[in-house]
Structures are given as structure tokens and as C-alpha cells.
Amino acid sequence: MNLIELWQFQFFRNALAASVLCGAGCSVIGVFIVTMRIPFIGVAMSHAAMAGAVFGLLTGLPPAWCGFALALAASLAVGPLTDRVRMDPNISLGVIFSLMMGLAFLGIGLSPTPRSDMLGLIWGNILLISDEDIRRLAVVTGLGLFLVFLFYKEFRAVMFSRLVAAASGVRERFAWYMLLVLCGATVTVNLDTVGGLMLFSMIVNPAAAAWQFTYRMNRLFLLSALFGVLSAVCGMLASSFFNLPSGACVVVASSALFGISLLFSPKRRHAGNGSVW
């Protein structure tokens, strides 16, 4: 079946739309995560969303909203935990990640019914994405990108240094906490695309790949979004043509893109010549 034939099917069009939105949304948030060196947040938030969704499935509550609520709670906990206990954010996130993973698998283990819905949270179900899912994904992604645009200068200050941001009178704590919440929201809403286990790669890989090509922050965002969309769409198409698991294909595509970026990175060439830049 070729692309034109596949295009006739609603599920394919939805999956493609979800790929584009997931690629764009996750990769923009990924720029903050990669440059602030808090990669664990992707894993922690995706497992928090999974644990919340599992709870929803166990109790009959809407799993999407439960996942969102727990991811939001986790993201709101990380900020104060980091600030009050004065730990590296990755340590706080590691603790939250392990707790949420435990809760998620505990819930899966306790389920008296077949676990296919719950396991779907781990692997993703991009081919089963509904019109309502697309609308929710579009709204949250659009809102997230809008907030990044609105608070870009505060986010940029916090990315450089929270101390310098604070010394400049920037509301750095507000910006830092908002970033964490945005991460939580983005991860939750994209759980259905590649699943909680692999969503981490969609957050980190495109931004890490983009970082190989530019020294400019605005170009980093644009390239990251482009790479995110490219790897999501390529992975989705590969999955459709070769009848392979969609989430895994998207992850492999984003990882391959990162590998290619390393090969062709002008920064690596300069490093090979002995200069750092």
C-alpha cells in the first residue's frame, strides 16, 4: 500500500497529525531539557503520567486526565524539592521517576482485567489516536508553544543561570516552575504517540541533534522542532510501510537522526581540528 492509499484512512491521517504535533511539542520542550541538562525530567514525567493513567484505568476515571493530574503534581513537586533540599534537579527527578515507575507497574500488577490498555501506555498507540485526541494534542501543544513564546526571555535567563536571572530581578522561580509544568503537560498529552517508555527519546534526541549544528538559541529551537517532526513522521511512515511497531520506529528514527547529526556536525569538525568551537 502506498502513501496515497494510506492517506484515504482516517487513522493514518490522525497518526500523521499526532506525529507532527508530538515532534514539534516534545522537541521544543526538549531544548530546555537538554540545555539545562535535566534529561531525567522526560522519564520522570512520562512515568508519572503513566502511573496516573494506570490509576485512572483501575478506578474507571478518565486515564488522560488522571495522567495529566499526576504529571502536573510531580512537576510541581520537583521545583520546591530542588530548591528546599538544595539537591541537583536530576536527583529529585530520579527519586520521582523511581516512585512513579513503581506506582505504574504496581497498578499494572494489581489490575484484575486484561492489561492491554495499560501496556498501551508503555508502548503507545499512535495508530489508534482519535479526532478528540488530536484536538487535545493540538490545544496543549499550541498552548505550550504560546507559553514558550510569551515567557521566552524569562526561560532564556533561567537557562543561562537561575542565580543571574534572580540577580536581574527576573521572576526566575516562576519561570523555572512553569518550565517544569510545561514539561509535565507536554509529556502527558503525548503519551499515546510513542508511549511512556520511549517518549524520553522524542524529548531529548531532536534537541541534542539540533545542538550539533548551531550556536544560536533561536535556531536551536527551530532546528529541534524540524528534527522532531522529521523523526516522528519518518518513524510513523516506516512503521506503516513495513508493518512495524510505530513507537519503536519513531524512537529509532530520532536516534538515527542524532547519529547522523554527529557525523555531519560542524562542531565536531572544529573539535577534530583542535579547536573547541
Binding site: K153, F160, V164, A165, A166, A167, S168
Partner: protein, 258 residues
């Protein structure tokens, strides 16, 4: 002359330890102060208190005529330009020197307001004032230590502060870079007539233009007043707890341990 800063029996306790005890001093508008003392004396804590980074446990502190506790934190930090001592950042972060300087305008502009052409022009003027206008498009991580400090100083200036506080600004700089930085601070203070405080543990790192010094030891203010009268062998020997000899070359003082 009105006071830019006024402390009365100010005490700060951090992690169960009294770091500052009973500090009483006054800094008038447009004065240029050095704050000197040995490592661990409490100098950085003193300026962090003034910049709103540590809480006051007892006593009174007034900044620009207003009680410290009465200042909204972001407003205080905007009016007091603070260059921290230790700054950890990622050298690979793709931010240009211009973007770092614009952080100073970010707090000034406020939430949900875009930076304007005036902000960019103000940042460029601060860069020019400190001789780093040719570095604006360079990634900040590629700059030398001295260049970074001048860019960070431009950042502090760009927020249009009324008081400027520099905490160990020449730490880690080679002698040439340190002298160039201190000269920049001298020229800046001379031009703008700002209230400036420079913290240092090395007397030789005091800008030549500073007229007053506060000597801090073990959390207490040992002495405060005119630089010429305090930077003597006997006073500094007592400050550092060992016999030292003070030399002077031009406007710069140097301390030699006997």
C-alpha cells in the same frame, strides 16, 4: 548626602551559624566602597543580604531609604545590580554575549512584555561602555574570563541599577584581565557616580577609585572609613591575623606577608 545603604546591628544566621553579627555601617549615595577581609569573614554574606539573597535575622537594613523587608524581592534585585562571586553555567549553551546582557533588561521589562528596540540599544550602550561591543555576537562560552566578567558587568548595568555590588569580580582572572576589569569599574563609577561596593579578599583587587573600605572579620565589622587611614600595616595585620606589610604603587595597595 542621603544614604544608599544603612545597616544597624544587622545579624544573619545561616545553617545555625551566626555569619554576620551586629553590623552597623552606612554607605552614602555615589560612594565607592571596598569590602575586604579574609576568606570566610562574611563579606559575601553581607552583600547577599543587601541584594536580597539571604534573610536578615535581627537588626535593621535600609536600601535606598526603605526597609529591606518592605522591598518586593524582584524590585530590590532590579535596583541593586549584583555580580555574584560563583557562577556556574554551561559553556556550550548557545547564548551570545548580547543575549546574556539582555538578561539584565528582562527583569526590567517584566513578565509577558517583549524586549523592545530600546532594550537592545540599552544593552549595546552598556556593552560599548565596557569595551565589549565587538563581542556581542560571540557565544558567551567562547569568551575569556575577563571578557565574561565585563559582559556580566554589562548585564548588571543594563538593568539600570542604583547600586552596584561586585562580589570578588577579579577572582580567577590573570593580572592583565584583572587590571583591565578594575579600570573599567573605576571609569564606570567616575562617569555615572553610582554607589558601588566591591568585595575582595585581596587588597590589591580594590579598584583605585574606591574611597572607603569596610573591613570584615569573623562576621563583624572591624573598621569602616577612609581607605587611606585603614589600609595600614597595623590594621591589616589585625584583619588577616598575621603580620603584613602594606605597599602602595600609584593608587593601588598591595599586601605582603612578612
Amino acid at each position: 548626602m542621603s544614604a544608599a545603604l544603612a545597616l544597624s546591628e544587622a545579624t544573619v544566621v545561616l545553617h545555625g551559624r551566626t555569619v554576620l553579627r551586629g553590623i552597623t555601617m552606612q554607605v552614602d549615595q555615589s560612594q565607592f566602597w571596598g569590602i575586604a577581609g579574609p576568606n570566610g569573614a562574611g563579606k559575601s554574606t553581607l552583600v547577599k543580604l543587601l541584594a536580597g539573597f539571604v534573610p536578615l535575622n535581627s537588626g535593621q537594613v535600609q536600601v535606598l531609604g526603605k526597609e529591606l523587608a518592605g522591598w518586593p524581592l524582584t524590585e530590590l534585585r532590579r535596583r541593586v545590580g549584583y555580580l555574584p562571586q560563583h557562577l556556574f553555567f554551561d559553556e556550550g549553551l548557545p547564548l551570545s554575549a548580547r543575549e546574556v546582557i539582555l538578561i539584565g533588561r528582562t527583569g526590567l521589562r517584566g513578565l509577558m512584555r517583549r524586549l523592545t528596540r530600546q532594550d537592545r540599544e540599552a544593552a549595546a550602550r552598556c556593552a560599548e561602555e565596557l569595551g565589549v561591543e565587538n563581542l556581542l555576537e560571540r557565544p558567551f562560552g567562547t569568551l575569556s574570563g575577563g571578557e565574561r566578567q565585563r559582559v556580566l558587568l554589562a548585564r548588571a548595568l543594563s538593568q539600570e541599577p542604583e547600586i552596584l555590588i561586585l562580589d570578588e569580580p577579579t577572582a580567577g582572572l590573570d593580572p592583565r584581565a584583572a587590571v583591565r576589569f578594575l579600570d573599567s569599574v573605576d571609569q564606570l563609577q567616575g562617569r555615572r557616580r553610582m554607589t558601588v561596593l566591591v568585595v575582595t579578599h585581596e587588597i590589591s583587587s580594590l579598584p583605585s577609585g574606591c574611597g572607603q573600605v569596610a573591613l570584615v572579620r569573623d562576621g563583624s565589622l572591624m573598621a569602616a572609613g577612609q581607605k587611606e587611614s585603614l589600609l595600614s600595616d597595623s590594621v591589616l595585620s589585625e584583619l588577616y591575623g598575621c603580620r603584613v606589610e602594606v605597599g602602595r604603587r600609584g593608587e593601588r595597595y598591595h599586601v605582603f606577608q612578612e
